[in-house]
């Protein structure tokens, strides 16, 4: 290599290095202003139905990429006002591109309820997921849990758990949740029936024990309810409380007098006309 050739090339290399350093410095100094708006265009994505056209058969991949982006975006607490398009992104874009992708429903619902404080939005998303994935129990389960814990809407919760329980292959805990939600929704008789069913179907002692506890307490509650209703009916008819529980039978108001789970009679105070349970409630209710 001639001397001349070497210096010629070196000059250009030096210039390149210098310009590169300058550009890096420049970008560092002044480029920050442009940052942050990089994510913004993604917020204005058209609905997934139209995005499908652009994805040319790579729908699932696009859904993945958008989901990954969304996680990063929504975990960035510096961005104020970031929940504006939350529903659009999860419900109308990502889950439109790949309706069977479960993570966006679950994580989306979590962000919506826990961070954006909008449980109804979360439930809309989960409803969509349930409609598109009837074979997945986790979605109605999450919805049911959301209703129970955040909304304290037990009847609604119970309906969701019923949906979940209907899915084949659902884990047994869901059944138990359902039974409990039924109770909290106020229908103790149905709840008792469900718990009894769980008890009968139980294949291990752990489940059997839990079920028995519930059955026990619910049995008491149901019996007491029946007794109270019968006493009230007696009062209506005869104008006073019965002297003893056996009179409820003789008056034809009850086919037979229930006994408590331990086999004893229920305690009855004629003065107050109230039946009560002689034992201790296992679950402390």
């Amino acid at each position: 290599m001639s001397r001349k050739g070497r210096t010629g090339r070196g000059r250009f290399l030096l210039a390149a290095a210098l310009l590169l350093a300058l550009s890096v410095g420049f970008e560092k100094e002044f480029g920050a202003a442009g940052r942050g708006s990089g994510a913004a265009p993604l917020l204005y994505l058209p609905s997934g139905r139209y995005l499908k056209v652009a994805s040319l058969g790579y729908d699932e991949l696009l859904a993945d990429v958008l989901y990954l982006w969304s996680i990063q975006y929504y975990s960035n607490y510096d961005i104020g006002d970031r929940y504006v398009y939350l529903e659009h992104i999860y419900k109308d874009v990502i889950t439109e591109l790949d309706p069977r992708y479960l993570d966006p429903y679950l994580i989306g619902a979590m962000i919506m309820s826990a961070e954006a404080q909008d449980p109804e939005m979360a439930l809309r998303l989960l409803d969509k997921g349930i409609a598109k994935n009837p074979d997945q129990w986790i979605l109605p389960f999450e919805a049911g849990f959301l209703c129970y814990q955040t909304l304290r809407d037990y009847p609604r919760s119970s309906r969701y758990f019923e949906q979940a329980a209907a899915v084949p292959g659902v884990p047994p805990i869901v059944q138990r949740f359902k039974a409990e939600m039924t109770r909290r929704a106020g229908d103790i008789r149905a709840s008792l029936g469900e718990w009894a069913g769980i008890y009968d179907a139980a294949t291990d002692d752990y489940v059997r024990t839990i079920a028995w506890k519930h059955v026990h307490d619910l049995r008491v509650q149901v019996d007491l309810e029946d007794l109270t209703a019968a006493i009230a009916a007696y009062r209506d008819r005869f104008g006073r409380a019965p002297a003893g529980l056996a009179q409820l039978r003789t008056a034809g108001l009850l086919a037979e007098i229930p006994r408590d789970p331990e086999g004893r009679d229920y305690v009855y105070e004629p003065q107050s006309g109230r039946p009560s349970y002689g034992g201790v409630s296992i679950l402390g209710r």
Partner: protein, 255 residues
């Protein structure tokens, strides 16, 4: 006859593997597949889906790119470089030349796809998320490559590489959008427009039967006859395209 087609096919294969573009694409593809692992770290939730989607999409994309980039120059480059003169002066049918070139590219794609598939499967096995359905998805993707190659070869017989590239990629895009023709047809009022739309939908290459990536990744069982349908469609449509290519080449003037 098959001896001559085979000779041309092997020669084409030999040319392809001495072509640096092939290696470039392959290296990129393998690198991307391995990147799937890195990308999956970003997710909250199922890693498996990210890796599988990414890997299959990479194989799909790079297979198509290879099919198109090598297919468009298959015939036109030979004509342009005049290497075709001495070959066509031999006692061969022109159709044997076209089919031989096509077969050579098919062989190249087979090796290519096998390498990409191997890397991907190894990654999946290492992560314990391998599922035989993946192989089925890759096999159908391979059939897709064969169809696209046929289209590229047809254009290669008709015009220069740039035009061929644009048209082949356009047909690839349309092939994935045929579902939208149904939507379009519903919006059209005139019966002749609907008929035209329906006709086009039938005539254009349908690439949807070859795309089972989503189903495989979600573990949804494929309807019986999926593979058979794809195979027969490829044989018929691809055969038609190749026949067209042979027809075009039959009377092409070798200026």
């Amino acid at each position: 006859m098959t001896g001559r087609i085979l000779a041309i096919a092997l020669n084409t294969f030999r040319e392809a593997i001495r072509n640096r573009i092939l290696y470039l694409l392959l290296v990129f593809a393998v690198a991307l597949i391995l990147c799937a692992q890195t990308l999956s770290l970003l997710t909250v939730g199922s890693e498996e889906k990210i890796i599988k989607d990414f890997g299959l999409a990479t194989i799909d994309l790079f297979g198509v790119l290879t099919a198109v980039l090598m297919g468009i120059g298959l015939v036109s480059r030979e004509i342009e470089r005049r290497t075709v003169y001495v070959l066509l002066a031999k006692p061969i049918h022109r159709a044997e030349f076209v089919l031989g070139k096509y077969a050579g590219l098919v062989l190249t794609l087979l090796v290519n796809t096998a390498i990409m598939a191997l890397c991907f499967v190894l990654l999946l096995l290492a992560k314990g998320i391998f599922d035989p359905g993946i192989l089925l998805a890759i096999a159908l993707l391979f059939l897709q490559f064969l169809l696209i190659t046929a289209i590229a070869v047809l254009f290669s017989c008709l015009s220069n590489p740039i035009v061929s590239c644009i048209l082949t990629l356009a047909l690839y895009a349309v092939g994935h959008l045929l579902w939208s023709f149904d939507l379009l047809r519903a919006r059209l009022a005139a019966p002749w427009a609907r008929a035209l739309c329906a006709g086009l939908q039938r005539l254009l290459p349908d690439l949807a039967p070859f795309d089972v990536k989503g189903q495989v990744v979600h573990g949804i069982p494929l309807p019986p006859g999926t593979v058979a349908y794809a195979f027969v469609y490829l044989a018929l449509y691809g055969g038609a395209v190749l026949a067209l290519a042979c027809a075009a080449f039959q009377r092409k003037e070798m200026q």
